[in-house]
Point group: C2
Chain length 258, copies 2
DNA sequence: GGCGACACAATTGTCAACAATTTTATCGTG
DNA sequence: CACGATAAAATTGTTGACAATTGTGTCGCC
């Protein structure tokens, strides 16, 4: 029933710095956290679409959780930037205004550039080995069309790489923006071409890390993010028309996650 | 009984972008939000000290709010980075490890530098007028030793200035780091010398904004943050001794906020 | 006297019912 | 037939009680 939480990384129960006890408990929060993950998945894979209203009772019975838990989950998802809430009016999947998307991506570019500039080069062999292993797994899951694990491994690849920047707070910020933009990138996930391209760029990053080619590494880390942005823009039809939308673009439909 | 919410700025109920209805509701959330603000104040002014345990029942009756609300407040404060929670073990005021503090301040410097670089120069007269008015009020409240309002106005000054950087997401990030570091800066607030220095530096920033002196503006925005960091470090006695602390430094005691 | 098992108290996590609010549908009136 | 007021339904917000977990003190045993 409980199952293991979907996200592979460490739970984000507060800022898990070493305090007095370093026991990494993986219980207790599981109920809420798994629910949060489930809803997150629904958003990532476009089953819940931007601006769609999230009704507490509905999700409550859909996931077999109490309404109270759903409520808490909304609260977390709101802080993650995945849903928007207004008092007495409930929660909706967050929708990004065009200008907003551009601004966020500008910041992603800046932060990732900064992080890439701080990774010691040539990179630690352990780091390289780990990244290679992750990207190999990524490659395999792309072949297997297992989108859920593709998504996880992609996340892990970047998180592992940027964690090497020697500033935990910076890598934390990047992770935050990453999560926040899940609702944007959902328009790109599932496109085989983009997935293949991402895989190739990952290998290129590894080359740059090995060769100690800073310029190339930074360029790759920045340019790596644009395709998903482009996908979002095209999915939204025109663009530039900041006020009105033409024809309610929708995220790709994807096969059930397993 | 309800009173007006402490924070002067707009409530942060989700990401308040214009959606369909633009009615800025200032009700409904007031209960939770005022509670969050109250607890935040307690942390800022050192009545609740780092690592101190926050017991739900206790705060519940202290603030006359239901335990459920306290719980929600903890949830928000956790995401704000002011408290840390662990499952079944409750919440404590966040405590920063020395390396962590340095990392965060490095990022504050970077983000503020980036923002300062993006503010159009010479600055909009309206912006200058607003900042001058804020800093004048700041000056007055410093004289009056009204720390609570000093804190608010200081926040408002920076937020207003950085909001002019033409990237809402960037100014949002800065605001986030600002909030997160309240628990660090609490060691500096209340020091008259530092307050006076901050006031002067604000005027200098205004000069740079008026004169269109980018280099100076960026320098000021970055250097402005170090004094509080230094105060924190000295308050913690030694330093560098990352593992152990000597003698549990404590935030300044301050007079009751009114 | 030290050490482990047990029981009790303190605290957090969960649930279901109730109250308040918003949205939708209905009805009378000009 | 359009329009505004009113009532009903749907949904969210709040409260209090109950269950589960953790921390602490006590007792018996070696």
């Amino acid at each position: 029933m409980k199952g293991l939480a979907a996200a592979p990384g460490p739970k984000n129960w507060g800022h898990g710095k070493k305090l007095e006890t370093d026991l990494v408990q993986r219980d207790g929060d599981s109920q809420l956290q798994t629910l949060v993950d489930k809803i997150k998945q629904e958003i990532i894979f476009g089953r819940l679409r931007p601006r769609e209203r999230l009704i507490e009772d509905e999700l409550s019975q859909r996931f077999g959780a109490s309404r109270h838990l759903v409520r808490s989950a909304f609260s977390e998802l709101q802080q993650m930037g995945l849903v928007t809430r207004r008092p007495n009016k409930g929660a909706i999947v967050r929708d990004f205004a065009p200008e907003e998307v551009d601004e966020i991506y500008e910041m992603r570019a800046m932060l990732q550039s900064e992080a890439a500039s701080r990774i010691p080069l040539p990179a630690d062999p352990n780091l390289i080995a780990e990244l290679e292993s992750i990207n190999a797994a990524y490659e395999a899951e792309v072949e297997a069309h297992n989108l859920k694990r593709v998504c996880e491994l992609n996340n892990r690849f970047h998180h592992t790489m940027f964690s090497a920047c020697n500033n935990h707070y910076l890598s934390g910020l990047i992770q935050r923006v990453w999560t926040e933009t899940l609702g944007i990138r959902c328009y790109a996930i599932g496109d085989p071409q983009l997935l293949a391209r991402a895989r190739d760029e990952h290998w290129q990053m590894l080359e740059a890390l090995k060769a100690g080619n800073r310029t190339e590494l930074v360029r790759l880390c920045v340019d790596h993010i644009w395709p998903a942005l482009e996908a979002y823009k095209t999915a939204h039809g025109g663009w530039q028309t900041s006020g009105e939308r033409k024809g309610e673009a929708r995220p790709l439909k994807v096969a059930a996650s397993r």
